[in-house]
């Protein structure tokens, strides 16, 4: 127990020490979190009336970000499968970073759902046993359960492996491998359940599509690995952690497949609605071309699609993708492009026009934007701290005093392996 406490003390000390750049980055994030906290305090004070949501568009930026981040969390599976199933050596070195990113994304998801509630203090009503969780009938009840279990899995696996590494002892496979395999299934399930949240309603034809879950997964496999490319590039550049070129190459190939597949699935939806040309085409029309003079989402969605297309071109062009910075920029375009398309580009037109033919446009208010940025900054700060500590442990900088393991040489460092 003493060792475990010391482990935590050392980790916290590690989180608070770093280069000037690290301090600047964390200070900037903290400032944004504080600004977001202030925006949230205004919302808690006045109610959700400070948002631009309405009875017509009853979900907005919060739920859009939530949906997107479930995908980011699920995309960890892209590294988990080759690592633990196919024993890909280079990926094994970085998989913990991906799992910690999934955990951070999951925490952000839970925060985004919480700030969207009219009565966040009633969260215990969702607790099985204490409240009255409407399980298995409500898909939202399913989502609450699967998201929290996914968070626990993604905290346990890296947490356990890092502690073992800290102690300098071999991890016991039965303590984490079954959970790793469960997490593969679970990653698919969280995004499927999140898609079912929308696709289960006959009254919202724009969402009421069987390919929504596959679309969610495919777009997650574009945006998730793209974000990982950015994160790994940053970790390599600023964190002093070796990430092999093969890792970037693998992620690039995944995105190269996922972006066209995502376009294909979107195209299937577009064809179905426009060729059928029933009243159900109205939401698509509103999104892509505007309806009855309401066209606020039109430039938004076309920009999103253009970003995805540009990302694909960057990823496919040897001259562009070979420079890591250019690849990271391409990845950033994809991260934003998918965020546009499956965030507000999916949530808002689901509500418009309304089932009774009303059309009230929505753009987030300054307070909503503030809260969103606060949660993103908090997620980024959490991830930075967790990744920094994890890297320190993996490099052997942070280890138990009793641990006999010598500090890794530069050659060994490049071969850090955990499991």
């Amino acid at each position: 127990m003493g060792t475990y406490l010391r482990y935590w003390v050392q980790m916290i000390r590690c989180a608070f020490s770093g280069t000037g750049l690290y301090y600047a980055w964390m200070a900037a994030l903290t400032l944004v979190v504080i600004a977001g906290g202030y925006a949230l305090s205004l919302q808690l004070d006045e109610g959700l009336v400070v948002t631009n949501m309405s009875d017509q568009v009853s979900w907005g930026a919060y739920i859009a970000n939530f949906t997107y981040l479930v995908g980011i969390a699920a995309a960890a599976v892209i590294l988990v499968v080759p690592t633990y199933v196919f024993h890909h050596k280079d990926l094994k070195e970085v998989v913990l970073i991906a799992e910690l990113m999934a955990a951070s994304a999951m925490i952000m998801c839970l925060l985004f759902v919480t700030v969207d509630l009219g009565h966040p203090e009633r969260f215990l009503h969702l607790a099985p046993g204490i409240g009255r969780l409407n399980f298995p009938r409500s898909i939202l009840a399913w989502d609450v359960i699967v998201l929290q279990i996914y968070l626990l899995i993604n905290l346990h696996v890296p947490g356990y492996l890092l502690y073992k590494k800290y102690l300098g002892s071999e991890p016991t496979r039965t303590y984490y491998l079954p959970l790793v395999f469960l997490s593969i299934l679970w990653a698919v399930s969280i995004h499927t359940v999140t898609a079912f949240l929308y696709s289960g309603f006959g009254g919202r034809p724009f969402w009421n599509s069987a390919i929504l879950a596959p679309r969610f997964l495919v777009s997650a496999f574009a945006s998730g690995p793209s974000l990982l490319i950015i994160v790994f590039a940053a970790v390599k550049r600023f964190g002093g952690f070796p990430v092999k070129d093969s890792v970037f190459e693998y992620l690039r190939k995944v995105v190269m497949v996922a972006i066209p597949a995502n376009f294909f699935l979107l195209g299937c939806e577009v064809f179905k609605d426009f060729y059928t040309d029933s009243t159900h085409v109205a939401s698509m029309e509103y999104l892509f071309f505007g309806l009855y003079g309401h066209a606020r989402l039109v430039p938004y969605i076309w920009t999103g699609l253009a970003l995805n297309l540009t990302a694909l071109i960057v990823f496919a062009t040897p001259r562009l993708r070979q420079r890591r910075l250019r690849l990271a920029i391409g990845a950033f375009l994809c991260v934003v492009g998918v965020w546009v398309e499956k965030g507000m580009g999916l949530i808002v037109p689901g509500f418009l026009p309304t089932p009774m033919g009303d059309l009230v446009e929505y753009t987030p208010s300054a307070i909503e934007i503030g809260v969103c940025m606060g949660i993103w900054a908090l997620g980024a700060a959490l991830f930075t701290v967790m990744a920094k500590v994890a890297i320190a442990i993996m490099r052997g900088d942070l280890r138990a005093a009793s641990s006999a393991a010598p500090r890794l040489s530069a050659a060994e460092e490049a071969d850090v392996s955990l499991a």
């Binding site: 959700l48 009336v49 009853s58 009503h125 309603f201 009303d358």
Partner: protein
């Protein structure tokens, strides 16, 4: 049309005020302790789901609701909790030949049900449709000026009290459910305000209190039901409840009483002689979005 409003044997005097007084005495000690605002918040925090409240819990809760109304409006609520009448299935039948779009129902509903005036919350929407279509998605709910306008049909929409309600299925905490008489109700003290039910509803029937509902003391209707028109808190969903505090006490809904045209008929579908039963049997009725299988209790017809 004032015939056949079903009789409620469970509430012979309709009010149960005497029970309240008894309970009030029984919980007098607790009431004194919880008189401060702070403990009221804790009371509400630990308040159980409506279906799990014991008789004593209910007394405490009702007492709190009344005290809050006294503090806020300086008026005494006649708070009731009428139960569904056994064997009754309430329904509406609305004649589109007769409705002329005057929206008297909308205003009566707002007054009866203590809806927020600013921001304005209304349970009923009247949709103006061109002759030749019954597609509500092509209608106009913001029409103004003198009605009826030539070539138009007026179609009032409110909660359909579906027999297969998507909203009840959606709610993650069972804060909304279908009662035995078919009315879908909401426990305002249990709703977490996630608005998933609003996404689920194909009739746009649910409203959310984005702001604290504003209501002047003189606007308050003091005859309130716990699951219907009592003053609502901020951050919860509300909707039409077929005026259950009236209809379970042998009175017509406010919109029916207010309608100057007689377009609205309300009654018990299980009573073969009620207006609605006869209309459903004899007229050519239709429901909105029938293909969704929500089985609405709001029927429309042309005479």
């Amino acid at each position: 049309m004032a015939d056949r409003i079903p009789h409620n044997p469970e509430h012979p005097d309709g009010l149960g005020r005497r029970d309240f007084l008894k309970g009030l005495l029984a919980t007098a000690a607790t009431a004194t302790v919880t008189a401060s605002g702070c403990s009221t918040d804790w009371d509400r925090f630990f308040q159980k789901h409506y279906k799990e409240l014991t008789a004593e819990d209910k007394q405490r809760v009702f007492d709190r609701v009344k005290r809050e109304a006294r503090e806020r409006f300086n008026r005494e609520l006649n708070l009731q909790d009428p139960k569904p009448i056994p064997g009754v299935a309430f329904a509406f039948a609305i004649s589109l030949s007769v409705c002329n779009g005057n929206r008297a129902c909308v205003h009566a509903c707002v007054q009866e049900n203590n809806q927020s005036r600013e921001p304005a919350i209304q349970y009923i929407k009247v949709i103006e449709l061109d002759h030749g279509t019954l597609n509500v998605e092509k209608g106009d709910m913001y029409y103004e000026g003198e009605v009826p306008r030539p070539g138009k049909v007026y179609l009032p929409v409110q909660c359909n009290q579906c027999d297969n309600p998507p909203c009840v299925k959606a709610c993650p905490v069972e804060a909304t459910w279908k009662e035995k008489d078919g009315i879908v109700v909401i426990d305002y003290d249990w709703c977490i305000g996630c608005r998933y039910c609003m996404a689920a509803c194909p009739y746009e029937a649910r409203r959310f209190n984005f702001a604290t509902p504003s209501l002047q003391a003189h606007e308050l209707n003091t005859n309130v039901g716990y699951l219907s028109n009592r003053p609502r808190p901020r951050g919860v969903v509300e909707k039409c409840h077929f005026c259950l505090h009236r209809t379970r006490n042998e009175t017509y809904p406010a919109c029916v009483e207010a309608c100057p045209t007689g377009a609205r008929k309300f009654g018990d579908l299980n009573d073969p002689d009620s207006d609605v039963s006869r209309i459903v049997k004899d007229k050519r009725v239709f429901v909105l979005k029938e293909e969704l299988q929500t089985l609405p209790r709001l029927f429309y017809y042309f005479d």
